[in-house]
Symmetry: C2
DNA sequence: CGAGCCGTTGAGGGGATTCAAGCTCAGTGG
DNA sequence: CCACTGAGCTTGAATCCCCTCAACGGCTCG
């Protein structure tokens, strides 16, 4: 991954300075571009924030912007034909949201903030224009599509199948990846855990309570948990050999 | 979708003529290109066939080619961490197989012929070279990635969740899409139905037998079935309102 | 013909759902 | 200060659906 700064240090434009202070420069979509192109971008970029639970956009909505996630967690939801809500993926730091609108269509999922989030909103036409000039950007976009496809498979093959206990263990481990350092991890409400793992809220509650009794996790309120990662991995391994 | 012929009619090259007779010209990857570029491609393309059950490539294998599926059905498999086989998607006529190798990585799934299949094998470097010259091709590629992502969601949200009866009904309807005209549809063996729907062989067998008793389908041997599509859709609707 | 693969069917058990009842906790207003 | 309220979480009991284990039948092929 390139370490090129997203925006020039000597700029006097306020948004440019804000962008420069952004920690995402290396990992974000525009990490592949040079300085010259970047100078022309920042004027189009708007910094956006959302509180936990607030929507970013909705499925079917005509989209004219993509988003780079700077901090927090965003979930992608969709409603199945049967009418039940499913969370199909999570986005974390550095992820690109809503890239499907670059092809001219609408957003394909609801995007909702799970925690307080900070994002950069980038007009689609900016990305499209840059893409025709810089094939490297298109390649980066394709990489991100491929990654989304991989994530999607992992999400359903590893999280939404198998015994309930295993699903919850895998989810907790995955949520650990989204947390920075040794901070307590974000714990979704049971209804959302159910929507991720395809379980009822009662089953989720039972499993989480069980893990708490076993001392593998300790909860701080309803939205935070401290996890014993090695123990969780151990428990997961025992699950898999038992089956 | 453009109707430009993939290859020129007046060519004397045998492969070019074979390619010209290809029914995929309009829907295939290169449908977006003009005639001039196409003249330079066909020399690199090899026509490939596989019998039912034969692998096309395997996950992890270093890939140097993508494939356009001309006829038949191909399945993508992967082995989960628990060691069980899952069929994550089907490819039909006109689909592009293995496009992930265009990014330099290995194939991400096993690709196996479900029926006798005919394909065009295209070296990755050809697509990559053309991509730098013709942004339209890159856009087409991104479209296909997005479509794969959509399909992937549908596959798991609609096929691998819910009651067993519903899953089988949805699968039969989907298999109907891959069949041409009113021909009998291809019926996978029970083990593969199980790998698609995340059910056991026995459960699949019971459900299919039940549908047969209800007269919604009639089987011809073990690999073919004739389906009553309206009745199936009706049965599916009844499932959904009951729940 | 026997071996092996595949599909079917039955009986029994287990794990998730369903239904239902409390519980905790924050917010509100008397 | 405290009762009231509602949302979210927990727990229990009964049910149901799918899995597991097992036996058997049809078919192909050596």
């Amino acid at each position: 991954m390139l370490k090129t700064p997203l925006y020039r240090l000597d700029s006097t434009d306020p948004q440019a300075r804000a962008c420069f202070s952004c920690g995402m420069r290396g990992v974000a979509l525009f990490g592949v571009l040079g300085e010259r192109e970047l100078d022309q971008i920042h004027v189009h970029i708007v910094h956006v924030q959302r509180a936990a639970g607030e929507p970013l956009y909705e499925a079917g909505e005509h989209g004219d912007s993509v988003y780079t996630l700077r901090s927090g967690i965003v979930r992608f939801e969709r409603v199945s034909e049967r009418g039940d809500r499913r969370i199909v993926r999570l986005a974390g730091c550095g992820d690109l949201l809503g890239q499907e609108v670059l092809l001219g269509g609408p957003y394909s999922d609801d995007a909702i903030a799970c925690t307080p989030v900070a994002l950069c909103r980038i007009p689609a036409h900016v990305v499209q224009a840059l893409g025709t000039l810089h094939p490297a950007l298109l390649r980066e976009l394709m990489q991100r599509w491929q990654r989304a496809l991989q994530d999607s498979h992992v999400w359903v093959d590893e999280l939404a199948t198998g015994p309930a206990r295993r699903r919850v263990l895998k989810l907790l481990l995955k949520l650990g990846e989204y947390a920075q350092g040794s901070e307590p991890i974000w714990l979704p409400k049971r209804e959302d855990v159910g929507a991720m793992l395809n379980l009822t809220i009662e089953t989720c509650s039972r499993q989480i309570s069980q893990l708490r009794r076993e001392g593998l996790i300790t909860t701080k309120g309803n939205r935070q948990a401290r996890v014993n990662l090695p123990a969780l991995r151990d428990a997961l391994r025992r699950e898999d050999i038992a089956a």
